[in-house]
């Protein structure tokens, strides 16, 4: 059982890391602010979600697991809102040429 859980952790955490890499590549390669914002928010949140998911079996107490999930939910809420704000600012300050 513990081996299975460890394998689950390794797979989920690795997948999460891949999403972080995808986000960074997107940031580097995408041509303008809005597409870069897209790369940042999509990839990072899935990446963090997978890492949190992978770490869940490694927690010792149920409270720690709840806190992990809360941290992820807070990031979802905050990054969703903040990317809206950034996108609107970007559109206001640099109208499409």
């Amino acid at each position: 059982m513990s081996l299975l859980l460890d394998i689950f952790t390794v797979v989920a955490v690795s997948l999460g890391a891949v999403f972080f890499l995808a986000g960074a590549v997107g940031l580097l390669r995408f041509p303008d602010t809005l597409t870069r914002l897209h790369a940042l928010t999509k990839a990072d949140n899935v990446g963090l979600g997978l890492i949190v998911l992978g770490l869940l079996p490694q927690t010792e107490r149920p409270l720690a697991a709840v806190k992990l999930i809360v941290a992820w939910l807070l990031v979802q809420l905050a990054s969703g809102t903040v990317s809206q704000l950034i996108a609107r600012t970007a559109r206001r300050t640099e109208p499409p040429a």
Partner: protein
Amino acid sequence: MTEFLLAVGAFVLATVALGLIRVLRGPADADRMMAPQLLGTGGIAALLLLGAATGMPGAIDVALTLTLLAAFASVAFVKGASEPAEPEPDEGGGG
């Protein structure tokens, strides 16, 4: 498991560094506003991995704090960058 989690933490940190270079170079301030969000998410991931790897107490609490404050800083960044040169009320009349 410890080694693996630390390695992934280092990897995530490296991807954050890559993104950070891009974001800081701009050119628009809107690009730079992404920095706290990028570091918030990546930093939290690295912190959680570090905490799970070393079993350090309080790592999750620090991560939760980081989440809230990164959100707060991000909103402030949007405000700070998108609303420049607010005239000081006491300087009315060019004084």
